[in-house]
């Protein structure tokens, strides 16, 4: 019965998304609301992400023209990097994306500059590696990484430093004993905040679970990240409570088993809706 209910809901949701996607111009706000409320069906995910991130404009008539511009821009930037020998045949694809992103943001280091990638580059590369698993076409993949990273930094850059406090708050409501344990052992200050809140769980959750979190991030919420972190902590509560060394706690959380992550994300989304409300208008 549960399966039927969920299956039925899924069909209804898919239909209403299809209606939204037939509108011309697309109502970006409604699409955001939809993806805040429901999981995106995987067959439409990339298309919806591209619209929400502004890679495709709202007018469907313009999609092929604009898609062509995007492709050319990708090729132009890549070609220049190849000519200048910044990238070659053996360069890993994510490294290519990083160089392209740096060229476009005018922060490409000199080729002779051999300083290792900084923290920001590593965040980019993690997100890129995850996106690569989700998106097949390399043009789409580059644009999605670039616009995801840019939108995330522009929109949420100021909120990110406050997320650890927010995590502490919700944990104090949900599971004060766990919070106290984390505080007393000194693990609270050492939690993998940058993996959670800067890489948006890229490299932490498998892509199948990750993309459901990114649906929410791309459609406008960074708060969801806090609730995913809460649910991760809750689901490893017993192990964490049994560990007194903060390094041990961090180690558990950074090397989470890749199973049960779907359940963690589902619970996180429920918790997020519980505290932050479900966006109600339209759809």
């Amino acid at each position: 019965a549960y399966y039927e209910k969920v299956g039925f809901r899924g069909v209804e949701e898919k239909k209403s998304l299809e209606i939204l996607l037939k509108e011309n111009p697309l109502d970006v706000e409604k699409l955001s609301t939809f993806s805040q409320r429901f999981p995106l069906p995987s067959m439409y995910r990339i298309h919806v992400w591209k619209v929400l991130l502004g890679i495709l404009p709202p007018h469907s008539d313009s999609h092929s023209l604009v898609g062509g511009y995007r492709r050319e821009q990708y090729q132009d930037v890549l070609e220049a990097l190849e000519v200048m020998r910044f990238v070659h045949m053996a360069t890993p694809q994510t490294q290519v994306y990083l160089r392209m992103f740096q060229l476009e943001s005018q922060v490409l280091p000199r080729r002779s500059d051999t300083t290792p990638p900084d923290e920001e580059d590593e965040d980019f590369l993690s997100i890129a590696r995850a996106m690569e698993e989700i998106v097949e076409d390399s043009v789409d993949c580059y644009w999605l990484i670039k616009c995801f990273v840019n939108q995330f930094n522009n929109k949420f850059g100021d909120s990110i430093p406050h997320l650890p406090k927010s995590l502490e708050h919700y944990l104090s409501v949900e599971e004060p004993r766990l919070l106290n344990h984390l505080k007393n052992t000194g693990a609270l200050a050492m939690l993998p905040y940058s993996l959670w809140f800067r890489r948006c769980f890229a490299g932490c959750l498998p892509e199948s679970s990750l993309q459901r979190v990114w649906d929410k991030v791309i459609s406008g919420s960074c708060k969801i990240l806090v609730f995913v972190a809460v649910e991760i902590l809750l689901s490893y509560k017993i192990v964490v409570m049994g560990t007194s060394r903060p390094e041990g706690v961090v180690n558990i959380l950074c090397n989470m088993p890749q199973e049960n992550t779907d359940a963690i994300v589902t619970k996180a989304i429920d918790l997020w809706h519980k505290y932050c409300g479900t966006p109600m208008h339209s759809v």
Partner: protein, 54 residues
């Protein structure tokens, strides 16, 4: 309806402009690299006169 037409045009123009800007960044980078290479060639030219005169 008019807003609609304007909106569509805006979307297309923005994408076109972004493609142009990327090309500009590319040009700037290439120019910097060329200048760098020219000066290197000049230096090496001085450092290696036998090759140059051969």
């Amino acid at each position: 309806f008019l807003e609609d037409v304007k909106g569509q045009a805006k979307g297309e123009l923005q994408a076109s402009e972004s493609r142009y800007q990327a090309q500009r960044r590319v040009t700037q980078l290439l120019q910097t690299e060329l200048l760098h290479l020219y000066s290197r060639l000049e230096m090496e030219g001085h450092a290696c006169p036998t090759t140059a005169s051969a």
